[in-house]
Amino acid sequence: MSVFVDLNLSYTADNNRLRALIETAAHLGFSTVAINYVFEPTTKKKQEIPAPKPISALIDHLPIVQGRSRPITVLNRLTVVMSDSSHFRPNAAEYRGFDLLAVYPTTEKLFHSACMLLDIDIIVISVTEKLPFFFKRAPVNGAVDRGVVFEVCYSAAIRDSTMRRYTIANALSLMETCKGKSVILSSAAEKALELRGPYDVINLGRLFGLSDADAKEALSSTCRSVLLHAETRKTASGIVYTRRSCQEDSPQPDLCDAPAAKRPHLAE
């Protein structure tokens, strides 16, 4: 097992609220969190992909993780809502500013291509509507083989009882297919009071059809492999890693501490 991670804290323009979110997450015992920027392209007009705010601009002193002596690690993540295959641009330079890349496919065809083809880390499972398709074994296994994971968010289930029904139904149908492996549980919280402690989420995993051990994996080890997957995505076959050597005003977002041990090997 490794440290507990919550890879989805919703981004809000309100800095105070975001700071409260990070502080609560640290207080609850999460060692790494990711701030999630959602990009929802529409067919009508061309939109800007959001740029991640540097963490240092959000918060001066990162809070200490509960019961430990180290501060929390904060990452940036982009979620692209896909309703058409053109919405995901594989080589967009804007994607490079984010540590993690996720897609939210809305149709079965897009789900299939997200599982099998797209160069991403996370596939978000819908929790706000009834799933328009059924999880087939083939694409799910394909995603598992490629190291792409599925994400179930629980904060919608706290907000609304209809959403709760969709969350549980969709999560159960996912677990039937993937047997509890390659799944991460995250909050998608917008407010600090929508966050729950790691052990609470592990217990909640029971409602989604996960065993205690699998749910614990879903909060720790699986997240760690996502972070490693995200790092290798930025490299060529996981061997060569390039970065601009002169940086003046653009501080590189902090990388997670979990894969730090492996980082020197990648950089070599």
Binding site: S31, R68, K179, Y199, S211, A213, S220
Partner: protein, 362 residues
């Protein structure tokens, strides 16, 4: 990564697995101190890292003076900040402390289910519970954790520092030393205690880092009109629940039909007019607990025949080892504790409890 491929049967097993509550174990022993084969002292020795001892004395309103002086004489312990782990392999430290035996060391502010945890046991064994990354980087032999056997996410490295092959300069020693200095320079806050030597034998190590000395914290609380079940006939879970309620100051004067709580003292019960609860917190050594048990037995000898004493010892939740150096894990709470009831006629009841990821207590 692997997918569950067990067909229909596998699916059923997977369903069943997701419906069980985590395991818990409770071992109950009854015997007498007069019995030559009684194992209390060896059982006390086997739980190395004790966090809290709480004592309940029936029919007693203030602590007897020699009990009080015993409690204040519990060994002090030291907190070292950011101790690099290779310091534990330091030749001087090995000679002045580890080879003499009875050094207790435990990483502090680390969580067993998330971080790397380390324990140095009194018999000179060093136990490192490492996550997968750290284990592979360390490059020293170890075993998969018993409780993460399927996923292989946690590894346990056990080294006997007193063994000949781990003597300074030998190959295995150098391999671990280079692993901890260059490849995996682990640093953590560390609790240390040495039984006969005290601080003197640790001084050389302490002086190089920021450290502080701590004294176990003693608290007393006197209770009156305590309803108390019949200790001889009460079932073990009911008894521990009652004792837990006394420890947590939970009121027991409910009727079984009240709305808030139906917790009542198990029948048949009697009321103890006065009782005293003493607790002591810190890194407590089994040796001190032994002395406390002796003292409590002496005290009981002077009391009325119906008096009794209970002693509860809680182990550290995040210690990588529990009973007798066996591996310990945390699923959602890593409880490991034992309760000893001593009676006037030298008989005792011992209850040893373990949580989900623990071996059976001795």
């Amino acid at each position: 990564m692997k997918v569950w491929t067990g067909g229909k049967q596998g699916k059923q097993r997977w369903r069943r697995r997701s419906n069980t509550t985590p395991r818990s174990l409770l071992v109950c022993e009854r015997s007498s101190f007069c019995d030559e084969n009684n194992r209390v002292s060896s059982q006390v020795e086997q739980l190395h890292f004790n966090y809290k001892v709480s004592v309940l004395l029936s029919d007693c309103s203030s602590a007897p003076s020699h009990l009080e002086s015993l409690l204040t004489s519990f060994s002090h312990f030291y907190l070292v900040r950011n101790l690099p782990l290779h310091e534990l392999l330091d030749k001087q430290f090995l000679e002045t402390a580890v080879y003499q035996g009875n050094v207790y060391g435990l990483s502090y502010r680390t969580r067993l289910d998330e971080d790397n945890c380390v324990a140095l046991m009194p018999n000179g064994h060093l136990v490192l519970s490492l996550d997968k990354d750290s284990f592979q980087v360390l490059g020293f032999e170890g075993k998969t954790s018993t409780f993460n056997y399927k996923t292989k996410n946690r590894y346990v490295v056990t080294v006997d520092l007193t063994d000949g092959s781990m003597a300074p300069g030998r190959q295995a020693y150098l391999r671990l030393l280079t692993g901890l200095t260059s490849r995996l320079p682990l640093q953590m806050d560390f609790l240390l205690s040495h039984h006969p030597g005290g601080g003197a034998s640790l001084q050389a190590l302490l002086s190089r880092y920021i450290w502080s000395e701590h004294k176990p914290e003693v608290g007393t609380c006197s209770l009156t009109h305590l309803p108390c079940p019949d200790l001889q006939s009460c079932d073990p879970h009911g008894l521990l629940e009652w004792l837990g309620a006394v420890d947590a100051n939970i009121s027991r004067d409910n009727s079984s039909s009240s709305f808030l709580s139906s917790l009542v003292c198990p029948e048949p019960k009697r009321t103890v007019s006065r009782a005293l609860r003493i607790s002591i917190c810190g890194l407590l050594l089994p040796h001190d607990v032994q002395r406390l048990i002796q003292e409590l037995r002496c005290y009981l000898g002077q009391c009325q025949p119906e008096s009794w004493v209970s002693l509860t010892v809680h182990g550290f939740v995040d210690s990588p080892v529990s009973w007798g150096g066996k591996e310990h894990g945390v699923l959602r709470g890593g409880e490991n504790f034992y309760t000893l009831f001593i009676f006037h006629d030298h008989t005792y009841h011992l209850h040893l409890a373990a949580g989900a990821q623990d071996t059976c207590p001795p």
